[in-house]
């Protein structure tokens, strides 16, 4: 039996639009991305997004076993989204559940349009998203980190995939849904896009929205993706600057 059952708060948002965690409706939580923190993986990224802590890593292109799963004309992109048992209030049983199987598919499809898979026929590219600490929005944070890890692995891509959520609390649309809003809010929309091409690659929603609210929410999410996109590019830049500095340092020694 679980001892960590949470109770719903009295209200999720103030009359003046202050959300339960103190944010304004269009305010995101702090996001920090670090590139290349794993040694073995071909590419990796670590993201802190609100209370989320997520590792993403990429292996490939590499041989695919069993061979009959390989495709003659392109690389097979595979993705595993996984929550650690200690990433949630009540311990999560290890291993895939229905939710994580769906999210693995959704994240894979969000990333796929960004990649030139036809350059590596017969191979696989494996993306692993490991949620160490969850705090609402793991799928968008995971997608964001995974795209950076793909770039870090040097996989040829059209551009980075950036993602964010928008929710509804009563009549208010709120950007970057927080933990309580995720639990007791009225709607939740996740979106990812190739910002450079204005292409949406992931769109999921539950709860209820009027068609008008829906269109508005999509707009808000797209704007936020542009900010996330900047953070992604900056994180990649920082890693390369660090490498350059190290090489320069070595040379100068």
């Amino acid at each position: 039996m679980s001892i960590f059952i949470e109770k719903p708060p009295e209200k999720l948002i103030d009359e003046d639009g202050t959300r339960i965690d103190g944010r304004k409706p269009d305010e995101m939580r702090p996001v920090r991305i670090e590139v290349g923190i794993l040694e073995n993986a071909d590419g990796s990224a670590y993201i802190e997004w609100g209370g989320n802590r997520i590792l993403a890593a990429v292996y490939g292109p590499r041989e695919l076993h069993p061979k009959h799963l390989a495709q003659p004309d392109k690389a097979v992109l595979r993705c595993r989204y996984n929550m650690a048992p200690f990433s949630t209030s009540t311990r999560k049983k290890p291993g895939p559940d229905r939710r994580s199987i769906e999210l693995s598919k959704v994240i894979r499809e969000a990333l796929e349009p960004s990649l030139f898979l036809h350059e590596f026929p017969g191979t696989t590219i494996d993306v692993f998203v490991e949620v160490l600490r969850s705090d609402a929005g793991t799928r968008v944070a995971g997608t964001t980190a995974a795209s950076v890890a793909l770039a870090d692995a040097g996989i040829p891509m059209r551009g980075l995939v950036s993602a964010c959520t928008v929710g509804r609390v009563g009549d208010v649309l709120v950007l970057d849904v927080g933990h309580e809003e995720d639990q007791w809010g009225d709607a939740d929309l996740a979106l990812s896009m190739l910002v450079d091409y204005n292409e949406i690659t992931l769109l999921q929603m539950d709860g209820t929205l009027t068609p008008q609210q829906l269109k508005q929410a999509i707009g808000m999410a797209m704007d936020a993706c542009k900010k996330i996109h900047e953070l992604q590019k900056q994180a990649i830049r920082e890693k390369y600057l660090k490498i350059v500095r190290e090489i320069a340092g070595e040379t100068s020694t």
Binding site: N198, L203, M205
Partner: protein
């Protein structure tokens, strides 16, 4: 001998489909981009032992939904709420590409999107599905509603067929009255049946993008040719209650259009569901 687990559409056919849609706004089976195939919904047909059921034909696609009722414990974090569990089973007889075994990612996604539509719309009034203990609410039981959707024949757009079958089955479900005694024993009156309480009719509209054209209700060939797909669930209160993109990408303008299409087409589907429910009730 034909190869196993493979469906090959010739490149020529693919090009043809794309071309006529682009140039003539006409589909390989003669439909307009925004036309559904013929829809037949047969609720309470006696094909199952479910407390509710519906057989849906969407063109050549066939699905069968059955609802079974049981009684059990509520989830610890929602003690005042009945439990709804949705499963989708792609029977291996429905397609040469389906294999026996537990549901794969496609089947799980299908079930979860149907489930999200029903749940978001609060189609089933789960609050009314508590079986109270006479004195101790901590010992309350709840109804468990199992919605199982079986795919019998797969010719594309399983999502919309499943959503139709699911809601039609739930709306024609009857549940036995169950009471709890002081010492926690359950007494079910299998003679005294009441309709499962429902509050909304969510239906899903799946839209595929082929080239620049959006089409509804893609058949299997169109699904394989499509650049991307999206399922938008709308209920009879005109609320969008679930969305799922299925691969590829959309521009913001295409998305806006898809939302508009879904709100319009959903009305047709909701009418079909209402008619099927009415017919089933008339026969009862």
């Amino acid at each position: 001998m034909r190869p196993a687990h493979r469906r090959v559409i010739s490149l020529l056919k693919k090009e043809y489909i794309k071309t006529i849609i682009k140039e003539d706004k006409i589909r390989e089976d003669g439909r307009h981009p925004l036309d559904y195939r013929k829809i037949e919904i047969k609720a309470r047909g006696g094909f199952t032992k479910g407390e509710g059921e519906a057989w849906v034909r969407l063109g050549r696609t066939q699905v069968l939904a059955g609802v079974k009722i049981d009684v059990g414990d509520p989830y610890p974090d929602s003690p005042d709420t009945g439990v709804l569990i949705t499963h989708e089973e792609p029977l291996p007889l429905a397609s040469p590409t389906f294999e026996p075994g537990p549901p794969d990612e496609n089947a799980i996604e299908l079930a979860r999107v149907v489930d999200r539509g029903i749940r978001s719309a609060e189609a089933v009034d789960l609050k009314q599905l508590v079986i109270p203990h006479p004195t101790d609410p901590g010992r309350n039981k709840v109804y468990l509603i199992f919605l199982d959707i079986h795919i019998l024949d797969h010719d594309g757009n399983l999502q919309d067929a499943s959503a139709l079958a699911g809601i039609a089955a739930l709306m024609t479900t009857v549940i036995p009255e169950v009471k709890m005694t002081e010492d926690g024993k359950l007494e079910a009156n299998l003679e005294k049946l009441k309709p499962l309480p429902t509050k909304a009719i969510p239906v899903s509209v799946t839209i595929a993008k082929i080239g620049d054209t959006l089409i509804v209700d893609p058949n299997l060939t169109e699904e394989e040719v499509a650049d991307s797909r999206i399922t938008i669930t709308v209920d009879d209160h005109n609320r969008v209650c679930a969305i799922q993109m299925l691969g590829g990408s959309f521009t913001p303008a295409e998305l806006e259009l898809a939302i508009d299409i879904a709100t319009v087409k959903s009305r047709e589907l909701i009418e079909k569901v209402k008619a099927a429910v009415k017919e089933a009730e008339a026969n009862a």
